[in-house]
Amino acid sequence: MRVTSGMIINRMIMNLNRNLSRLAKVQNQMSTGKIVARPSDDPSLATQGIRLQRELSQTKQYQANANDAQSLLDLTDTALTQIENILQRAKELAVAGANGTNPQEAREAYAAEIDQLKEQLVQIGNTAVGGRYIFAGTNYTTPPFVLNNGAVDYAPGFTGEMVAKIPATGTQLSLQPNIAYEVGPNVTVPVNLTAAQVFNLWPSSTATLYDPPALPLNKSMFAVLENLSGYLRSGNTGKISGESLKDIDDQLDHILTLHADVGARQNRIAQTLSRLADAETNLTELLSKTTDIDLAEATIRYSNEQAVYQAALMTGAKIIQPTLADYLR
């Protein structure tokens, strides 16, 4: 086939261009660290990468949610323990007060302490973290309780509830739903207990509206303590041993049930967190394997392309130079 100098030069330029563009592509991969710079480089890999990135972000969000849930539940756990301690103390005082051999002055002292314990319960009921009252349900910016001259009352502005004196049994209370955090796709875990649940502020006739885990008792915790205080001051040891002790036991059992439920939730959150941590590790690894370049392999490819480019330059230079004119005299 007849070969012209134009053909040779054209071909050399074309091949140099191709070499250079391959070289540029490898260099771009090395400097970004990613295999795919644009979707057209590898469409399926690109969409896979985007999808994995999204799953990783979601997993991290679930982890954040689970961590928040854990801190709320831990605080609730501590509060319940404190309530148990208070109830235990109240029981001791009741037992002592029921003992007929003690003088009235002793009972007066007990009654004063019971009043103090009641106020501590109110404080525990108003536990807050970060501006959020943990027993206030979905009205968490307002504390649930106030003390009006020693009487426990709902705080004003605690909306959705009727502001009523407790222990007014027979007063209807509206439901304070649980708050739930999402720790997986369409998987939620309840993170709170409401004041009504903990302190038994429902009459039992509304049991059907009640959320598990524990059924309400007839009396609120405050009512029990107020009654006890009254009996102590009036010296009614029969009522103390007959009614108050049983009431305190009931409240204690109730708290223990709630506490067990919170503990179960804490376990579940802990397991979820560990599972999410594994998922995060796996996804990160998969994402890296899918979208990141192997630097060693890319470096070798780069050297290869460079060598080819230099060879092309060298041979090209040699072939385009000599013509017949160099040899004709």
């Binding site: 979905t138 909306t159 739903p177 708050i179 017949l324």
Partner: protein
């Protein structure tokens, strides 16, 4: 009997012929780098021998040759390879144009990256997830509003850029149409000149080369068919309708039509409404990218439609959850029923992605975001449902194009489709380029100048010239003997 000055004539003819051949060689060397130039050769032929058969034929030995002359200046060109080259060049023009435009679209979509629209969408969902946990927190609400604005702005921006690109390409098509018309005029003029020259008996070699270059350029722009010529007059058609017929030209025109509030464009034969059916060339590529109101729709138009579907689905699904109704009560921080989350800043169907925006009432006061299903400030169940929308399959698009997928997956599939189309265009363009270069090599092999060859020819003709000059010299000396020495 021999004429006295017979030998001079032979030498004279040789000198002229070799000089002419040298001229042609010189022309070749001078035009070695001229694009489209075809190698020319002076074809030498022995002139008519003497004697012709007849009654009065002389009795000496015959026939005697009478020297050499240049019969024609032949142009080396293979029509078949030319035709092949032009056919493949049309495809190259089309795919190259599509490749560039799709690469531009990839750049403006900017995926996969940390600044792309999928990242903005992800952050939008995250904002809502935080709101579900802390609905009374002012910071969290402000962040939700900001991220929603970022999302709508990203969608608006992408749509607008696609729109601008489409307008740019239409403008480019207009420019290319003018180019086609201008090339057609030039070719027609050359047709005329070549025709006149060749009628007179000469070969219009250089003019044909120029015309070849122009036709090559035209082939890159439009899908042309070249029919056999009639004494220098070519007919070039587009899909059967003649663009150039001898020395008359029928021009093309980019015409604007309106349909309602939309404008769309077609390439038609000037003065009519008949569409020029372009199947290849850059014009076909530009039209495939930018056309609207056609079946199937143009490439950019398809992407715009998908973005619109996405924006509409986002608007409708979020508002469904957020807006308060009898079946779905929602409450904001003040206990009022929730309104729209997303709105359109202007109401134009078919351009939802351009006008999607966050409800200005929410931007002014993030407290109005309805995160609660009951009038309690700490309830985040509506926000939770909004966050869970990320994993919910919804219907996106309408009619035959409707799909059932999550919003994220829809976006991913659009990006994937963009990648596939772009990859195909790159591959086809590269393949065509190789093919065109290959055929060009064959063309060069037939028509290109090899300087070594020309220089060898130069030497050849120079030697002949020298020998002919020497012949003249010898004849002259012989005549001198005859004239000066006989009969002294």
């Amino acid at each position: 009997m021999r004429a006295t000055f017979f030998g001079f004539e032979i030498a004279r003819r040789a000198l002229f012929a070799e000089q002419r051949a040298l001229d042609v060689t010189g022309h070749n060397i001078a035009n070695a780098n001229t694009p489209g130039f075809s190698r020319q050769e002076a074809v030498l032929r022995a002139t008519e021998a003497y004697t012709v058969p007849g009654w009065n034929r002389p009795l000496s030995a015959g026939q005697v040759g009478t020297g050499v002359a240049v019969q024609e200046i032949r142009r080396y060109r293979d029509q078949f390879i030319d035709g092949q080259w032009r056919k493949e060049n049309q495809l190259l023009g089309k795919w190259d144009t599509k490749k560039f435009a799709l690469e531009k679209i990839e750049a403006l979509v900017n995926e996969p990256s940390e600044a792309g629209i999928t990242t903005v969408l992800e952050q939008f969902w995250e904002g809502l997830a935080e709101l579900a946990k802390k609905p009374a927190d002012q910071n969290v609400r402000a962040i939700v509003v900001q991220r929603s604005i970022a999302l709508t702005e990203a969608i608006n921006h992408t749509y607008n850029q696609l729109d601008e690109l489409q307008a740019d390409i239409v403008h480019q098509a207009g420019v290319k149409v003018s180019e086609v018309n201008s090339l057609a005029e030039q070719i027609a003029r050359l047709n005329d000149q070549i025709h006149k020259i060749e009628l007179a008996g000469d070969s219009a070699n250089d003019l044909r080369d120029q015309r070849g270059v122009l036709i090559d350029q035209l082939s890159s722009l439009a899908s042309i068919q070249i029919s056999h010529e009639d004494r220098g007059l070519l007919t070039i058609r587009i899909n059967g309708i003649p663009l150039i017929d001898g020395n008359t030209v029928q021009k093309l025109e980019l015409k604007e039509y309106t349909s309602g509030a939309d404008k769309y464009y077609r390439v038609v034969w000037a003065g009519t409404d008949t569409e020029a059916q372009l199947r290849g060339g850059e014009l076909a590529g530009l039209l495939e990218l930018s056309q609207s109101h056609t079946t199937p729709p143009g490439i950019i138009e398809t992407f715009k439609a998908k973005l619109n579907d996405f924006a509409k689905a986002l608007h409708d699904e979020v508002n469904n959850i957020h807006q308060s109704s009898a079946a779905n009560p929602t409450y904001d921080l003040k206990g009022q029923p929730g309104g729209e989350f997303f709105t359109y800043s202007a109401s134009v169907t078919g351009q939802e992605a351009r006008f999607l925006t966050v409800n200005p009432a929410l931007i002014a006061n993030p407290d109005l975001i309805a995160a609660a299903a009951i009038p309690a400030v700490g309830d985040g169940s509506i926000a939770l449902r909004l966050a869970q929308l990320q994993n919910t399959r919804v219907t996106i698009g309408s009619g035959a194009a409707a799909v059932n997928s999550t919003l994220d997956s829809y976006l991913e599939s659009v990006i994937g489709e963009l990648g596939v189309q772009s990859q195909e265009a790159i591959r086809m363009a590269d393949n065509q380029k190789l093919l065109v270069e290959q055929i060009d090599n064959y063309r060069q092999s037939v028509s290109g100048i090899n300087l070594d060859e020309e220089m060898a020819n130069m030497v050849k003709y120079q030697h002949s010239y020298n020998a002919a000059a020497k012949l003249l010299n010898v004849m002259d000396e012989m005549l001198q003997v005859l004239i000066n020495q006989i009969g002294r």
